[in-house]
């Protein structure tokens, strides 16, 4: 009994469990699916499938394919090469531009399952292998590095025959970055990458794709490290900066050193007027007197002259012929007019005065002197206080010029305003006053003023001597005829002259020369163009001085030979006329006393002295002369 129960229980248990054991259901396999088909080189291809459930039973799979436009079904030739659940089609089995209709069948004991068919054209499923033999190198382009990546197409892909044409693409990134930088390389197999970071580590990968197909996988990564070039670049900049700063400093220093000369070059100083002897400091100090005193030439104006005494002209003895006396009287009538400095009739004899030979004549010819003494006296009287400068001669001439007429004026006259006489004359050249000959001034006086002395008749008479005051004043020649008159008139105008009629014959007050011991008077005829003073010796009896407007028909002419170093006028006698008065010693060298003979007559007056040529040649040269020589003419007149 017990045994039966146990067997029953065991049987029940067996019965109970067996169905569990036997519970696995077998079913036909599930439907497989073709996952993909790929061709690496367009010559073979592989298809993979995914099997379905196997239904618990061993399941086999089979791939069948059908080619386009053919009903024939082929089975996969190779299930193993490509791995599990794959089918590999080799070259023989592969046709391009043919549509494959592929189906996978899973089979087990219970049944089979068919996958969905897939149409495959090998042309469109090409996925090449990645490029091979990839190399990355660092190269330099003008000091700047760049990466050169080169590769080879995958070995299987036949690009050489043109069967496949591939295009490539690469990607680069720095090691620490996350994003790749893509570059499409086209058909070429090399590529350059620029703009690298100095000292960076780069990763490079390449892939390829046929014209119409799938991209390959990325190739294996290439690592490259860029060398450091940043320092070199920076050092260049630093060097450049230092160098330019250095240059700049040098330029600044040079500019500073040459600032003045540069300033003169760029902004040249405007030349200002310079007055000789003008002291700016004095002007600034406000002492005008000193300033102008500095401007004053020592001898000009002849207000204060140390050589005053020297320059005083001694009285002259003037030989005035009778006619002249007559004329003088006539002229007295005109005296007033002349005094007024009116325009007087031209005097052909103008040029009288000291220029006049008569005035100059210190007569050896006694009677002439006698006659002239009157005038001399008068004139000397007149001229005692005359301030004689170099212009004194002019005064004399002037006075003499007025001798006939104006001499009365001059006789007492103190010509005080000498400077004014001379100053307004515009014809004065730029010669320094020192050098300017009194004669010149006289000339100019004569020129500037119209002749006051109207002694027409007189002029012709040459009583006053030839007014051959032929100053070689060039174009002023015509006026030379009346220098005396002009001068005289000026004198009249300017001088406060107590004019007394001292008679016709008057000589201008002798200009006292410092060492004047003239014994003879020499009449200065004229000065010709060669700077020769033509003198006519005054010889008693030879005082035939003919007034002539032009050529002196004087008897004797003294030619100024020259002036020697001692400021002596060397005269040269020249025989011109038959009336050569002998005894005229033209040597003028301080002369002896013919002059004085006449001078003694005028006691009250200064001794008539030879008319000292008031114009020293240089400085206050006192020409002691026997005759009057107009130093003015002696001086080489610039215009002559």
């Amino acid at each position: 009994m017990m045994k039966k129960a146990v067997e029953l229980v065991l049987l029940l248990l067996l019965l109970f469990f067996t169905p569990h054991i036997m519970g696995k259901r077998y079913s036909p396999p599930g439907k497989p699916t073709l996952t993909r088909c790929r061709s690496p080189e367009k010559e073979t291809f592989t298809c993979w499938w995914e099997p379905g459930s196997d239904g618990g039973l061993p399941t086999t799979h089979a791939l069948y394919y059908r080619k386009e436009s053919s009903e024939r079904v082929y089975e996969c030739p190779d299930y193993h090469t490509a791995g599990e659940n794959s089918c590999f089609f080799n070259k023989n089995d592969t046709s391009i531009w043919v549509n494959y209709n592929i189906t996978v069948v899973a089979t087990n004991t219970l049944g089979s399952a068919f996958s969905d068919p897939v149409d495959v054209d090998v042309v469109y499923i090409v996925k090449p292998n990645p490029p091979e033999k990839q190399t990355v190198t660092i190269m330099e382009d003008k000091g700047w590095p760049f990466l050169r990546v080169s590769w080879e197409p995958p070995q299987k892909a036949d690009t050489r025959s043109g069967w496949i044409t591939l295009i490539y693409e690469l990607r680069v990134k720095l090691e620490e970055e996350n994003e790749w930088e893509m570059h499409l390389a086209g058909h070429q197999k090399t590529f350059n990458i620029f703009s690298l970071r100095s000292g960076g580590k780069y990763l490079v990968e390449v892939r390829c794709k046929p014209d119409h197909g799938f991209w390959s996988e990325w190739s294996s990564t290439s690592y490259i490290k860029v060398p450091d070039y940043f320092h070199r670049e920076k050092s260049v900049w630093i060097l450049l900066t230092i160098f330019s700063a250095f240059i700049f400093l040098i330029l600044t220093w040079l500019l500073h050193m040459n600032s003045r000369s540069l300033k003169n070059c760029i902004l040249p100083p405007v030349p200002g007027p310079k007055i000789k002897g003008f002291d700016n400091q004095l002007l600034k100090n406000g002492k005008s007197d000193e300033i102008f005193s500095a401007l004053m030439v020592s001898n000009f104006p002849p207000t204060t002259s140390s050589n005053y005494e020297d320059l005083l002209v001694e009285y002259l003895e003037v030989y005035v012929p009778v006619e002249q006396e007559l004329m003088q009287e006539e002229s007295k009538d005109l005296h007033g007019g002349c005094l007024k400095c009116e325009r007087s009739t031209s005097d052909s004899d103008s040029g009288r005065g000291s220029c006049d030979s008569h005035t100059l004549l210190m007569d050896k010819c006694g009677e002439t002197k006698e006659e002239g003494r009157h005038t001399d006296r008068a004139s000397s009287r007149m001229l005692t206080e005359a301030q004689r400068h170099q212009k004194g001669w002019e005064k004399d001439t002037l006075t003499y010029a007025h001798g006939d007429m104006v001499s009365p004026d001059m006789s007492n006259g103190r010509v005080k305003t000498w400077p004014s006489v001379f100053s307004p004359l515009p014809q004065y050249s730029s010669n320094p006053l020192d050098k300017q000959s009194s004669l010149e001034m006289a000339k100019q006086h004569c020129l500037s003023t119209s002749s006051c002395l109207t002694q027409p008749g007189h002029s012709t008479k040459e009583a006053l001597g030839p007014s051959n005051w032929d100053f070689c004043l060039g174009n002023k020649q015509p006026h030379l005829l009346h220098p005396q008159t002009q001068v005289g008139r000026q004198l009249q105008a300017h001088s406060e002259v107590n004019i007394s009629n001292i008679g016709r014959k008057q000589a201008p007050a002798g200009l006292q020369s410092p060492a004047l011991r003239s014994t003879e008077y020499v009449e200065v005829q004229r000065v010709n163009e060669e700077d020769l003073v033509l003198l006519q010796p005054v010889v008693s009896g030879c005082g035939r001085i003919e007034g002539y407007p032009q050529m002196p028909k004087g008897k004797d002419y003294s030619k100024v030979k020259g002036v020697d170093s001692d400021n002596m006028l060397l005269l040269q006698r020249e025989v011109m006329e038959e009336d050569w008065c002998p005894g005229v010693d033209q040597e003028i060298n301080g002369g002896t006393g013919n002059c004085y003979t006449s001078s003694t007559v005028n006691t009250t007056q200064k001794p008539t002295a030879c008319i000292h040529t008031a114009m020293p040649v240089q400085g206050d040269m006192a020409l002691a002369m026997n005759g009057y020589v107009d130093t003015a003419t002696m001086c080489t007149l610039p215009t002559c």
Partner: protein
């Protein structure tokens, strides 16, 4: 007035001095035309064919998305150019030889001139309005390109013959003998419908790919070099 004259003179001078040399391209090197090199010709032709293939692919994919994908392409139909024997793998293509390969190319191109224009015409007349403007322009474009490419390849073949690269053994086989004259007669009697369009484009897409590939093979055979 003088200024305008000066300007005119300047312009005339510029015109004369900067004359751009333009000359028609001819393969035969006649006088007055600028004959390109064989490499240039190959490059142009290959580019053209590649472009043509791309446009046809686009057009085909456009059509395909509008229609339910047909699993069984063409069904039992074939492309009308099935008569033209074309090498279907590399060995066969290389074995074929240059002259025959050129013949095949020319035949293919000749076979597609009319069908494509018909396709274009048919597409524009389609009542379904399944095509957008781009499709029409693409269809027109590929029909034009086929003509141009055919002429280009012909010129290139002539040049190759001149150069001695290509033998004269090739006999130009008239495509008409191989190919049905009209797509109408082949594909369908009467008008082409959209299904026909799709089939037609499928066939042309493949054939353009063939042309392109054959040209590339030809190029690398005759001018091995950089790109090969």
């Amino acid at each position: 007035m003088t200024y305008s004259l000066l300007v005119a003179c300047g312009l005339v001078y510029m015109e004369l001095s900067m004359r751009v040399v333009t000359a028609p391209i001819c393969a035969y090197g006649q006088a007055g035309c600028h004959a390109p090199s064989l490499a240039d010709l190959f490059e142009r032709v290959i580019q053209q064919s590649s472009r043509m293939h791309g446009i046809s692919s686009d057009l085909h994919s456009e059509l395909e998305q509008y229609f339910f994908p047909r699993k069984n392409v063409l069904g039992k139909h074939k492309c009308h150019t099935y008569g033209i024997l074309t090498p279907d793998d590399k060995e066969n293509a290389q074995r074929l030889g240059r002259e025959q390969l050129t013949d095949v190319i020319l035949s293919l191109l000749a076979a597609w001139s009319d069908p494509l224009s018909q396709l274009h015409r048919s597409m524009s007349q389609d009542q379904n309005q399944n095509f957008n403007d781009h499709s029409y322009s693409k269809a027109l474009e590929i029909s034009d390109m086929v003509h141009e490419l055919r002429e280009g390849v012909a010129i290139m073949a002539e040049k190759m013959k001149l150069l001695g690269v290509l033998g004269n053994t090739m006999g130009y086989i008239s495509p008409e003998s191989l190919v049905p004259s009209s797509a109408f007669t082949f594909y369908k009697q009467g008008e082409l419908n959209s299904v026909d369009h799709h089939d037609l484009l499928y066939c042309f897409r493949r054939d353009s790919n063939k042309v392109k590939n054959y040209l590339q093979i030809l190029k690398c055979t005759i001018l091995p070099g950089l790109d090969c």
